[in-house]
């Protein structure tokens, strides 16, 4: 625990960049038998960016976890390669240059967060500010004039050509809020209550915050038609509630509330119902051929994963153009076709390792706020991967969430880089050795920080 492992970090970072460059070369060889001209610029560009991120990390968070940055670099790089590859097929909207630019901005945000936020516990004082700001960002797209509806979901805010997705940033702020709130209230939530059969029931008045979060997340579902954010928000709250109180009853109550709410919303609102229909009967011809809300995209994604098989078709040799929006929501299916089950499993392992590092940070943290914040942030990362991968593989209804670090999309990339910066900051605090006493006599100690 006490070693900084800087060398291991640099080696892993170089390894990740090497794999990404190999992937570029492989795409070029697969398409036209030549190493693409952009390989060096893209590869070196990514390498330079990550070196900059590494230097910032080494200066401002020297004790940070050695694996977070290399792991994120790899998934971000694979995403870049896949988008480059899809751009080669001529699908509209895929642009590797834009994505590389957003990655650069993401690294800038990462560095800025690390430099500005010297001690993450300062966030605890901003608990309610973060809560209100998060809620405001979440509701921003509902405003007239600046709110925009793209592809059926009203989750965008735009001025001119420029548009962002505020819910991506809202999720981080809301996790900060949940962590601060639960640190203050968890004793009440955990201790008061009655025992019924084998679960501890909470008091009725303590249900308030759960009901409010439930209402807000259902509101997001109904008004913004954004099932993904709704599920993400509520799942994060329930998971953190469970971590804070260690009581199963909250999880049961949460699941019952959400399932009940979603079923009700499915019966009342047509767009929610269409989602469930598309999930349950995705392969029926009527659904596949329907003009609005058809399952064409989902089924094409499934066919792509299926044709990839165990080893994949090889980079540059699949048909990602057959899947609409294969560079954003369906990048996982496109990757699955070209890298096969073996490649997808490796990518999922990398995500699992990122989450494991986050949870490890949470375990090692020395105060409850950091424990909850690190746990919550790791959870939303894992939960996001589960929701979107579950969606494209038809395990759960499809929702429009991004695959973290892989999908094309600026807001998500920026927000996820900030999330990683917070985890890095907390792992730095958790792994730093305790302050040394210079003088150790009597009750007052002089500490060297």
């Amino acid at each position: 625990m006490t070693a900084k492992r800087r060398g291991a970090q640099l080696a892993m970072l170089a390894f990740a960049v090497l794999i990404v460059m190999g992937a570029y070369a492989s795409v070029g060889l697969g398409i036209d038998g030549q190493i693409p001209a952009g390989m060096l610029t893209y590869g070196l560009g990514l390498g330079a960016l990550m070196l900059a991120a590494y230097l910032v990390l080494a200066k401002w968070a020297p004790w940070a976890d050695p694996l977070l940055l290399p792991l994120v670099t790899l998934v971000n790089g694979i995403g870049l390669v896949m988008i480059y590859r899809i751009e080669q097929t001529g699908q509209d909207g895929a642009s590797a240059t834009t994505q590389l630019m957003w990655t650069a901005l993401g690294v800038v945000m990462f560095s800025a967060t690390l430099i500005v936020l010297k001690d993450h516990r300062a966030l605890q004082r901003l608990t309610y500010t973060a809560g209100f700001a998060g809620l405001a960002l979440l509701l921003l797209p509902l405003l007239p004039f600046i709110g925009r509806e793209i592809n059926g979901a009203r989750i965008w805010v735009g001025v001119g050509r420029f548009s962002i997705q505020p819910s991506e940033f809202a999720k981080i702020l809301l996790v900060v809020f949940f962590a601060g709130y639960l640190v203050a209230k968890r004793d009440v939530l955990a201790l008061a209550g009655r025992r019924l059969l084998f679960i501890d029931l909470p008091r009725a008045r303590d249900l308030g915050p759960v009901l409010i979060t439930w209402a807000v997340s259902l509101g997001v579902l109904v008004m913004q038609k954004d099932l993904g954010s709704s599920l993400l928000l509520f799942g994060a709250f329930i998971a953190m509630l469970y971590v804070a109180t260690q009581r199963t009853s909250w999880v049961l109550i949460g699941i019952l509330l959400f399932v009940g709410g979603a079923v009700l919303a499915g019966q009342v609102f047509s767009h929610v119902e269409a989602r469930f229909d598309g999930w349950l009967n995705a392969s029926s011809p009527e659904m596949y051929d329907r003009e609005f809300g058809s399952t064409y995209q989902l089924m094409q994604g499934l066919f792509a994963i299926g044709s990839g098989g165990i080893l994949g078709t090889g980079l540059g040799q699949g048909h990602p153009r057959q899947i609409p929006l294969s560079f954003s929501d369906f990048i996982f299916s496109a990757t699955g076709e070209e890298l096969g089950l073996t490649g997808l499993m490796a990518i999922l392992m990398v995500y699992a390792l990122i989450v494991e590092r986050g949870l490890r940070t949470s375990l090692a943290a020395r105060d409850p706020f950091s424990k909850l914040l690190a746990g919550g942030l790791s959870f939303i990362l894992a939960w996001q991967v589960f929701i979107i991968v579950g969606g494209v593989t038809r395990l759960i209804p499809l929702t429009g969430l991004v695959t973290p670090f892989m999908s094309a999309g600026g807001s998500a990339l920026l927000a996820n880089w900030m999330l990683i910066a917070l985890l890095v900051r907390m792992s730095d605090a958790a792994r730093k050795p305790p302050p040394q006493a210079i003088q150790d006599e009597g009750l007052t100690q002089v500490m060297q920080r």
């Binding site: 625990m1 006490t2 070693a3 492992r5 291991a8 892993m12 390894f15 990740a16 794999i19 190999g22 992937a23 492989s26 060889l29 697969g30 038998g33 050695p66 694996l67 290399p70 792991l71 790899l74 516990r121 640190v183 968890r186 004793d187 080893l311 994949g312 090889g314 980079l315 040799q317 890298l339 096969g340 073996t342 490649g343 490796a346 990518i347 392992m349 990398v350 390792l353 494991e356 590092r357 490890r360 375990l363 090692a364 020395r366 105060d367 409850p368 424990k371 050795p433 305790p434 302050p435 040394q436 006493a437 150790d440 009750l443 100690q445 500490m447």
Partner: protein, 154 residues
């Protein structure tokens, strides 16, 4: 580009991807299974063993929180004293209404760890008895501070 070359490139890339995953697991292996030897003495071979800080058998290496909200937290013991309390600069920060802001201190002395109550309101308990003066802590005996229970382990 022949089929065979492309197949080899494809397999090589997947192997590389998995090699990265395995290398990453290798980096955190020590986290999962713990270091095999104590890291500091392993660097310098036993030329001049320090007389005082030589880790003897049966000497505690870790402080483990076995009960309360921070359950599962492990702090490696070094030569530095450990402070416990609600103050944010304590080594182990408690959020417990029954703990004082500077509640207790653990420090090493002659190969033993000593617990000292820093004038807390609700007291520090070693096993069942209240700590009134600095007392040596044997291995595996619970120290109770508010709702938190702490043990020293090898």
């Amino acid at each position: 580009m022949s089929e065979l070359t492309l197949l080899l490139i494809r397999l090589a890339f997947l192997a590389l991807l998995w090699f990265f995953v395995i290398a990453a697991v290798g980096v955190i292996r020590t986290d999962l299974f713990g270091p095999r030897t104590a890291p500091a003495p392993a660097r310098k071979p036993a030329k001049a063993p320090k007389p005082v800080s030589k880790p003897k058998r049966g000497e505690p290496r870790q402080m483990v929180v076995t009960g309360g909200p921070l359950q599962g937290t492990v702090i490696n013991l070094t030569e530095t004293p450990i402070t416990i309390g609600r103050a944010t600069d304590a080594t182990l920060v408690l959020t417990d209404d029954y703990a004082s802001s500077r509640h207790a201190r653990l420090f090493p002395q002659d190969g033993q760890w000593i617990v000292e109550d820093l004038g807390s309101t609700n007291g520090t308990y070693l096993d069942r008895s209240k700590v009134t003066r600095p007392t040596p802590v044997p291995l595996g005996v619970p120290i109770r501070i508010g709702k938190t229970v702490i043990e020293l382990r090898k």
